[in-house]
Symmetry: D2
Subunit: 357 residues, 4 copies
């Protein structure tokens, strides 16, 4: 049997050392090799923003983008990703289609947070030949292959339901140990949900996959929960400045947010507003920003976590186990405080694409 490296040897102090080292390295070295990244996405508007941020980062090399259902059907997600890459003139990055539905699928939820197509329902000139531009290999197999070819060098950034990741560890139990790091946008910290009463959207859409990933991915894991983005939200003035930049990416972002209620600050009060006040929050970009530059994260909680599977109101909720009630040996980093200045700068730069070469 192909035995994985002992996950317990991938221990916490080792992780911390690595982080410290990398922070140093990152700060002091200009000639650093690029970070290899796979982005797994259910490409809605905020995923589009997050992908653009990764595309704009000089220290990031995107190996591929893998698609999953979520903000829209997986087919819409594929098209959305192709569109974003095209706007940024980065069509060479391979795109893989992944799962079309949750791991078990006992609940039946859907969303039109960002319109039916996930990008605000405003794009008219969709490419009729998009399917030919999608790689034939399944996203999960592609993930496994690329990570196996680049062991301990790939950072995986997950911006949607975690279905592809859960399948990857089932097909290759060593997959998590081959990762350099895992970044997740998803989950929540305080029992309040933005989709169901107690659960955040990405986790609520596939609680079983979230459970599997957080129980079995023993690599260094950074979670940007809902509260992280909401507590570190930006002003609507910043949003206006952001999308009114003179560049194709900014114009694209302005277009797709133009008719989307989620980007209208006058819109009906939503849950975020009730809990955190009105502000501009581009969820997925927070996870990508942490991957690009760890200094963007100013504070985090290191502790074991678990996802509730059985609850009638709490199904899909993420729970932090700060007092080690569950006797788990693995801890993750739950991000809590963001350097908003650094984050804003990353956002601004991301919409100036395509860059001249």
């Amino acid at each position: 049997m192909k035995h994985c490296r002992d996950p317990t040897s991938h221990n916490q102090s080792e992780q911390r050392l690595r982080w410290v080292f990398k922070l140093y390295f990152h700060t002091h070295t200009e000639t650093m090799a690029k970070k290899l990244v796979i982005i797994d996405t259910d490409c809605g508007i905020d995923d589009a923003q997050a992908i653009m941020m990764a595309l704009a980062a000089p220290n990031i090399q995107i190996l591929c983008v893998t698609c999953v259902f979520g903000n829209a059907t997986v087919d819409n997600v594929c098209q959305n990703v192709l569109t974003v890459l095209s706007v940024c003139e980065r069509g060479g990055i391979p795109v893989f289609r992944g799962c079309a539905r949750p791991l078990v699928g006992a609940n039946n939820l859907s969303s039109d947070h960002f319109g039916t197509d996930g990008l605000g329902d405003v794009i008219k000139d969709r490419d009729p030949n998009w399917e030919k531009k999608i790689q034939r290999e399944h996203a999960v197999n592609a993930m496994i292959r690329l990570v196996s070819e680049n062991q301990n060098k790939v950072s995986l950034v997950a911006l949607g339901p975690l279905t592809n990741l859960a399948l990857a560890v089932r097909l290759d139990p060593c997959f998590p140990q081959k990762l350099e790091e895992l970044y997740i946008m998803g989950g929540n910290m305080e029992g309040k949900g933005n989709f169901t009463l107690c659960a955040e959207f990405n986790f609520a859409m596939d609680p079983e996959s979230a459970y599997v990933v957080l129980e079995e991915f023993l690599c260094p894991t950074y979670i940007a929960p809902w509260e992280y983005s909401c507590r570190n939200g930006l002003t609507w003035e910043f949003f206006e400045e952001l999308i009114n930049q003179d560049a194709p990416a900014a114009r694209f972002m302005k277009m797709i947010t133009s008719k989307c209620w989620a980007y209208s600050k006058e819109a009906m009060i939503n849950k975020r507003d009730v809990y955190f006040g009105s502000c501009f929050v581009t969820y997925d970009a927070y996870a990508v920003a942490a991957c690009i530059d760890k200094n963007v994260v100013m504070e985090s909680i290191q502790c074991p976590v678990r996802v509730e599977l059985q609850g009638s109101i709490a199904r899909g909720m993420l729970a932090l186990d700060r007092t080690n009630e569950l006797k788990k040996s693995h801890s993750v980093y739950v991000l809590t405080k963001c350097d908003i200045a650094k984050f804003s700068q990353l956002l601004m730069e991301s919409l100036r694409q395509p860059f001249k070469k």
Copy 2:
């Protein structure tokens, strides 16, 4: 059939008016009639403190104390209540034995937070004839009878698992509508528990009863959740001053907290410390204080709530439904900010008993 008053007519604006009126009344009138109160308790150390606070309040008349399992067996609880009343020379207040176990009892939890006997395991001269001092009527029947005899005049203060209250509404569906107000110490607001991973002690001990009470008690309801007490904790210096007063009640409190780890600020780090920092927190007294004087409460959230019954880690968790996801018509007040000066004063006074007449 004895039809209850339409609960929907007991509406929210009416409630608010009543509160406003009472605040006014309470502030400006010296000759106010005493508030009739039933205390339902699983008498541990903080319940003892809370009962003493109620005994000391000049505007409160305690109709009876009803006992329930929780911090100790219901028999220990009965003895503890008799002891507290005896220390304060208020032995005339009737004490009723209630439920010995949770409504359904599918989980099997126990606690020695305040020692095996609930009062720190230091009391030696227990009364061997205590059973004769307990009323023969069951606590639940006594509650129903006393509230029916004093319709819309009785405030019920629940300091333990809510089993007696759940049974009361089953035996008399109109019981909640006959109450003036309900005060509960229990539950939590942010998905973090002090007993199980996600649930607070009183709710975790009997989630079904907590569910029943919060779904069916449509009277004005004030919940002092775990976070309320923790976020409004007092200093250990205050605690020293409190228990070192020269009065029987203070000496009693000093004795029962003397060997209890929960009252040792040097003790092992507990969950409260992890989340809120080290401080002196006497949970149940916060609910009693709100009943004595509404001005002690500086802020609260008014919203529907629900208790999770099905969860594997979230069973017993209280969830606030601030965006009305559940379409419930009834809201409760979840207390969030306390006037610590007023609260401290009530505590100080409570340990100067028995008062000279």
Copy 3:
């Protein structure tokens, strides 16, 4: 504390001896004292039949009838019981109102199996003063009182949801030990339900109460599950003969079954027909018959049982633990084979009331 008799001393071999003794006694003694019985019912048509069977039995003295919601509201049930007693000229038997809803009530089921009023919606001359004929004491308190006054002499026959019984053991933990025997119509044996996919009506209506009763009632317990009645059904010819007898009770039964689809053999195929074929099945009478004469029961399985509370399709299902997976010490008798001749005779006699004195 009032300690209950040790339930483990109420052991299985003792139970078996008692049964053997009673069978002998019952067969050979004419001068036997009457068996004291309390009937707890959600009086629908088959409950009416069952009550009449108990009224007709010369060896049975009915102490009282306690009412519970189920086939109809508890108020309708009260009226139905009064009507049945009146038809049989046994108005002297006290009737108590019990619980109007399930113990926890997290599900929201209802039934019109026997019409809205539970007795086929054909009775026109309802007594407008019926409420005065209902005792003032709550059914649960009455049960506890009567059983305590006649310790180890009362057989309790439960024909509806087990809510009253669950409350009784909460209010008096010794209640089960004071019972002579418990007979229950309810539950199922083979994972097939007649109300939800996997659960029988009485248990599905209040799974928590069924759970409590089957975990905590350690007295000799006889369960007549759904399959027992269906597998021992009678012919529609027998039914015709039964209701066409020349007596008020028969005429009453003919009237209330006249427009009820459940008593129309030509009616739409129901679940019973799918599983067991078409026949006349009067559920509750099977439990009463076992109480009247143990010889009616030809075979039973003695084993521990448990009710599923958590299931999404199996909630309320009864499971037999014949291989002692659950390590429970208490077993019940699950009835499987009925002496149909004896049972038919009891039915026939029951509809010849009122009897001349």
Copy 4:
């Protein structure tokens, strides 16, 4: 998107016609093309027997064997399959390693029903180079590839936990529609389990996968539940005759059953004995026999089914929905009555391998 053939067109009457046709065809034609079969197995002793039966069937061509955890670890299962193929001199059939653990894995069950290695812990000369004989492709990908290459021609026979099948439909949503037929050994019909209180082993080991397969595999599906094998068990005399045949396969079977308590008729009473009496039951062979020759199945129930995921005692239980409570459009065949003579003959023949060519 690769759209699957409309599953609703794969309708029930079409299925029935096909069956009828094939029965006719099978009976009257000698020159029939061989049936292409994939066997998915957690190879314990009865799986070994079942595989041998398939190997012996002249009308079956085994495309591959895919392995899954269950009776032993997936690595042991791989070795067991290689051993069985080697005994029968059919080493050319490719073997693929599949999943090592359940889809979600929230429960943690294990079994030593057939010894630690799944084949009775008696094999000593294990091949140290076995891993080289396992194909490099993952079982799930191999399944998808082979079924896609032979659309509507492959029968899939699943003898273990259904994890590989659940993954296959996640990776290729059209996978079920490309299957000719699906045969499953697993589940139960009457709420009684052989592994947990209410669930059968294969389903209890991975309830989520069983749920996914029975909700999403809309191809013709034949389930041989636990009761089917138990109700159609063979005598221990037959077993003696079976394993004492003069052939390598029989000698192998005699060896691996020699020290296994499950094959000792004098062994401790097990659940099967309690419910069905003592007999020789070789579970998995019943599913293979149905695939080889539909005439072996004398009776079946056609209805929708569902697996319970949430239950505390019923988790993993299979429920038959004969009255269409769940409003599902897809039905499966649940086998109930077996032609024991035909089945015995298939068993006898299966142990005469390797066959002379």
